[in-house]
Structures are given as structure tokens and as C-alpha cells.
């Protein structure tokens, strides 16, 4: 009996821990195909990701497979992701692909390009309500990138070269 209670406590303990990690970001859905998983968020569930204050620098890139300049600069984000330690820099690729193209376009792209950075889908059609919450200066065109650490936030509605991106990142480290 006491053992059972112990198990129960352990289970509650672990589910709570897990719950805490996930509490900030609860995916509204997960697309799974060809061994790739893409969690999907509406803006409300995505927004906490823009406000994590844990000493880590986050590079958040808004992109889509249909956006040519976005795809052109993705290798630079991948390079940042591979060159900087995970506990210092996290690269997050926020796809704005249409949900109906996730399985036909986004997942094959992620698989083919062997994308290693974290990829998620932001699916919230009421863009006028959330674009200004990402940044008040954003017109809504992509590529757009946020580099932030704690309360220090820089926003870029433009394309990057690798050297420009690294330069901007280093300002934040």
C-alpha cells in the first residue's frame, strides 16, 4: 500500500515537473509525418516564448517554405544553432506556412534540408491582433527575426547574411 502511494506521489511529481516545462507552451496540435514532428500554436500559446527570462539568448525567425528570401537565409540560422552552445543560444524557426501545406510542404522541407533547429508552426489567422504583439514596428512581411535575452529585445524585418546575423547576435550575448 505504502509503495503504491509512493508510486502515486512519484507519478504526480514527474507529471508536474513535465507540466511545468510545458506550461509555457502548450501546442494546440502536433503534425507528425515521416519522422518529423511540428507542434502548432495559436498566438496565445506561442506568446510566452517571446518572454522567457533564463539568461539564454533566443533567435526567433519567422519564415515559410513559400518565402524565397526566408529559405535563402535559413542556413545561417542553422549555422548559428550548430555553432553556439544550447545553453547560451536557442534558435527557433517559426513557420507561417498554411496549415494545409504542413504535410505537403513544410515537413518534406524540414526533412530534406535536415533542419536541426527547433521548428514550430504558428497558426493564428487573426494576424492583425498578434503582429503588433510580436513587435509594434512589424508590418507583417517575412522574413522577420527577433533576437532577445530577458528584457533586451531587437527586432528585424529584413533578410540576413551570416555575418550580419552573427553580428546582431553578439550584441545580445
Amino acid at each position: 500500500m505504502s509503495r503504491l502511494i509512493l508510486y502515486a506521489i512519484l507519478i504526480i511529481f514527474f507529471t508536474n515537473c513535465k507540466g511545468e516545462q510545458n506550461i509555457a507552451l502548450d501546442a494546440t496540435d502536433v503534425y507528425k509525418s515521416k519522422g518529423v514532428e511540428i507542434p502548432t500554436y495559436d498566438f496565445e500559446s506561442f506568446e510566452p516564448l517571446l518572454k522567457i527570462d533564463d539568461g539564454k539568448t533566443r533567435v526567433i525567425n519567422f519564415w515559410a517554405t513559400w518565402c524565397k528570401p526566408c529559405v535563402a537565409e535559413l542556413p545561417y540560422f542553422e549555422l548559428i544553432n550548430s555553432r553556439y552552445p544550447d545553453n547560451e543560444v536557442e534558435v527557433i524557426l517559426v513557420s507561417l506556412d498554411l496549415p494545409k501545406q504542413v504535410e505537403s510542404k513544410l515537413i518534406p522541407f524540414v526533412k530534406k534540408q535536415k533542419i536541426e533547429s527547433r521548428v514550430l508552426l504558428l497558426d493564428d489567422p487573426d494576424a492583425n491582433s498578434w503582429i503588433p504583439k510580436v513587435n509594434k514596428n512589424w508590418s507583417g512581411s517575412i522574413p522577420a527575426t527577433i533576437i532577445y535575452k530577458g528584457n533586451n529585445v531587437n527586432f528585424y524585418e529584413r533578410s540576413f547574411t551570416y555575418s550580419d546575423l552573427e553580428k546582431e547576435l553578439k550584441k545580445m550575448l
Binding site: C67, E73, P125, A127, G140
Partner: protein
């Protein structure tokens, strides 16, 4: 590890070769119109090979100018709604004027010939103009497609009354409960102030 090395190598090559191109796109025009500005007229080639200017529309009360294109999924998602807007408002004095601002060198799908094909497929009822040389969209300040400018014709010129999105749901027209363009034109037709003058939307970056 080997793939990583190759990836790094490839990325560097791209980084170097992309440098010149990116420098050019950095200098793209900032600003554009704000509400109340007088919008420039233009003379742009329509898909029927005629030249179209706003001044040719003697009976218009204003215009729904939409920067849009062929290749962009967001533009495509709105095509039927753009046709509906033209049907709804052309006779009331607010015709749709669509302009493709993209350089076909950046997006071959957006070439003049492909504009003709797309307009025919979708049964466009409005002029679909080619911003040849990409000179008009920077003056308006359009950054993406679709990007709407509603102009009111006055004795002083065509005044910008609304800038932004068509409605608040690109995915599903039936779920859109804020029809920004309709609300704006309805207000203008009644001589009232446009209720929401600026909205934002995701769109495809315009490439000159």
C-alpha cells in the same frame, strides 16, 4: 558530423554570394503613405495591354488598390474575396485596382504573361497591373502581398483612407468577422470616418 561540415561549407559559399544581393535589398524604401496622404497616380500596363491610370476613372468615388501577385499563397487565398470586393463596390464607385509589384526576375511566377494566365483562370473582373520597374509600390509603402490601400477621390487628389489587410482571417472567409475593407468602403460611401484605418497581416515580401 561530415554533413555538418558540408553544410557549413555550403552556407559560407551562399553567404558570400548572397552578400551583394542582400546589400541591395537593405536599401529598400522605408516609409510610404500614412492615412490622409495624397496617393500618387500611375500609368501601368494592364493584362489586356492597355495603360491604366486612376485619372481615367471619371465616375469613381475612390479606389481599392490592392498590391497582390500570383506566387504568394496569401494572395491566392484572397483571390476570390478580391473578385467579390470588385463586384460589390465597382458599381458603387470603388473599383478594385490590383497591382503586381514583384520583379519577375525574383519570382518568375509573377511575370506579365503569368499574370494574364492567372487572371483568366480566376476570372478577374478588375485591372491587374504590372508595376514594371517596381517604381509605384515603394511610393505607397507596400511591403507585402496582399496589401490594400483604399483611396478616396477628392478635389485635392486621391486621399489614403485605409492601409492593411482585407479581413481578419486569411484561411477561411466565413470565419472572418472583421471585414476591414468592406467596413472602410461602406463608411466612405456614407461619408463617415473609416472605423479601422490601419491593420496588419502576414504576407509575402515584395521583391524588387
Amino acid at each position: 558530423m561530415k554533413t555538418l561540415k558540408i553544410l557549413v561549407g555550403v552556407a559560407f559559399v551562399i553567404a558570400i554570394s548572397a552578400f551583394a544581393i542582400d546589400k541591395v535589398s537593405d536599401s529598400k524604401a522605408k516609409g510610404g503613405y500614412v492615412i490622409g496622404d495624397i496617393a500618387t497616380d500611375f500609368e501601368l500596363k494592364n493584362i489586356d495591354n492597355t495603360l491604366v491610370s486612376l485619372k481615367n476613372y471619371e465616375n469613381a468615388k475612390g479606389f481599392i488598390v490592392i498590391f497582390t501577385c500570383n506566387h504568394c499563397p496569401y494572395s491566392v487565398a484572397y483571390e476570390d474575396r478580391i473578385v467579390a470586393l470588385d463586384k460589390m463596390y465597382k458599381d458603387k464607385g470603388y473599383p478594385v485596382i490590383a497591382i503586381n509589384p514583384n520583379n519577375p526576375k525574383a519570382y518568375p511566377d509573377d511575370s506579365f504573361d503569368n499574370m494574364k494566365i492567372r487572371a483568366k483562370e480566376k476570372g478577374f473582373t478588375f485591372p491587374y497591373l504590372f508595376d514594371d520597374g517596381q517604381n509605384i509600390y515603394p511610393q505607397y509603402g507596400a511591403t507585402k502581398t496582399p496589401h490594400v490601400y483604399i483611396l478616396e477621390k477628392t478635389t485635392k487628389g486621391n486621399i489614403v483612407r485605409y492601409i492593411g489587410a482585407i479581413d481578419n482571417n486569411y484561411k477561411d472567409p466565413t470565419a472572418a468577422n472583421e471585414k476591414y475593407v468592406e467596413n472602410a468602403v461602406n463608411a466612405l460611401l456614407k461619408g463617415e470616418k473609416v472605423p479601422v484605418e490601419i491593420t496588419k497581416a502576414i504576407g509575402c515580401s515584395i521583391k524588387a
